[in-house]
Subunit: 245 residues, 2 copies
Amino acid sequence: MNLVLLTEKELVDGLALEDARSVHLLNTVGLKVGASFHLGIKNARRGLAIITSTQPRLTFTVKFEDVVQKRFPLTIIVGLPRPQTAKKVLHDLASVGVDKIIFFDTEKGDAGYATSSLWKDGEWTEHIDKGAEQACSAHVPEVIRCATLTEALANIDAATWKVALDPYEASHALGEGTPAARRAVLAIGPERGWSAAERALLLKNNFDLRHLGDRILRVESAALAGSMIVLSQLKVWEKHRPLAP
Amino acid sequence: MNLVLLTEKELVDGLALEDARSVHLLNTVGLKVGASFHLGIKNARRGLAIITSTQPRLTFTVKFEDVVQKRFPLTIIVGLPRPQTAKKVLHDLASVGVDKIIFFDTEKGDAGYATSSLWKDGEWTEHIDKGAEQACSAHVPEVIRCATLTEALANIDAATWKVALDPYEASHALGEGTPAARRAVLAIGPERGWSAAERALLLKNNFDLRHLGDRILRVESAALAGSMIVLSQLKVWEKHRPLAP
């Protein structure tokens, strides 16, 4: 954990000692009063926190950074995978800093994926939070669940460069050429591939079909690698600035 | 598993029924005599196998593809990570098709990483084999262990584009510009970053320092994403050709 993510309210109230973040900072890392750690207010500023008390709650003061970290203009559309895969996708796409993740129930997918406990009681939020904490970022992606690809496509901005990964039908590799806009949407097929109707819908919506070479990647690997190639093409990356005091 | 990897000898002898690959094909997938599956001879050809017998061993005939799949001209140098991370790196770099992986013991690394059971009795080969099987490829990377970064650098070709990931010191992002050669080496720092001596050695050896933006990624994520961006820049990707009968 390179940063501890919390809410504005937790910043004021401090954290209960039994909270997993307190346990991590005080017991795992072994911090005492006066020690510092990186803190982020979810979807807002980051800063360097100094512990002011460890009893009866963990409290801190924070020196916030002057320049707020950027969100990246990339939306990922992905066929709802099995829960174990979805956890990795949530973590990894949060850590690379995509703006929005839209999951849709696929024609070839298993109905059980959608009713998994991952999607109940906000369990999925834990995985995007961990991804942001790994990345030392306060930004977590917006996550949307849709029943169909049609519904997913209704959630994207028309003035966007639209790309879909398709190992079988694409004639060009991802990374070739120059993006057609400063915002992008990358659609990633479900585990068993796009159905004919889904592929037709993508083409009708002006998606550019691209491949990642002739190796068949897991959904989570294609999502991570595909996002990073598109982010590289969008030229949005700045060097990491350590959150120094 | 999109392909079953075996040796030339296993192709002749068939597989014992208790072999994990037989169990997968016969019990998990439920194949019978006459059914087909994708088969690869390690570091050689792929083909479509037809099961000819399931007693007393699993045997098959194979129709091999005409054109052998390419190996990609990319070597990855990576600071030896904890065994759990090393397993993911081995799997994922095999699945994207890099040619060679060189692990070196790092100045900031834990001595226990090098003596892990992963590196004894060839346990690590299981992870590269699984990566190739996932990718539907017969190619597995060559894997080398070195005691130092100096020794790792002695294992690379001088006429190679040399790039090192460094979130703190790089002034340009990976993916900017054009590769300086048709073969590349990508060096990935250990979990706690490059030491000053390691960074000096990279610069002395004409490595180009690059970053992946301001998010701090896990070693396995940086290895996967970095490899894919460099492969994209090397323009080595062709579309997947299904191994049809």
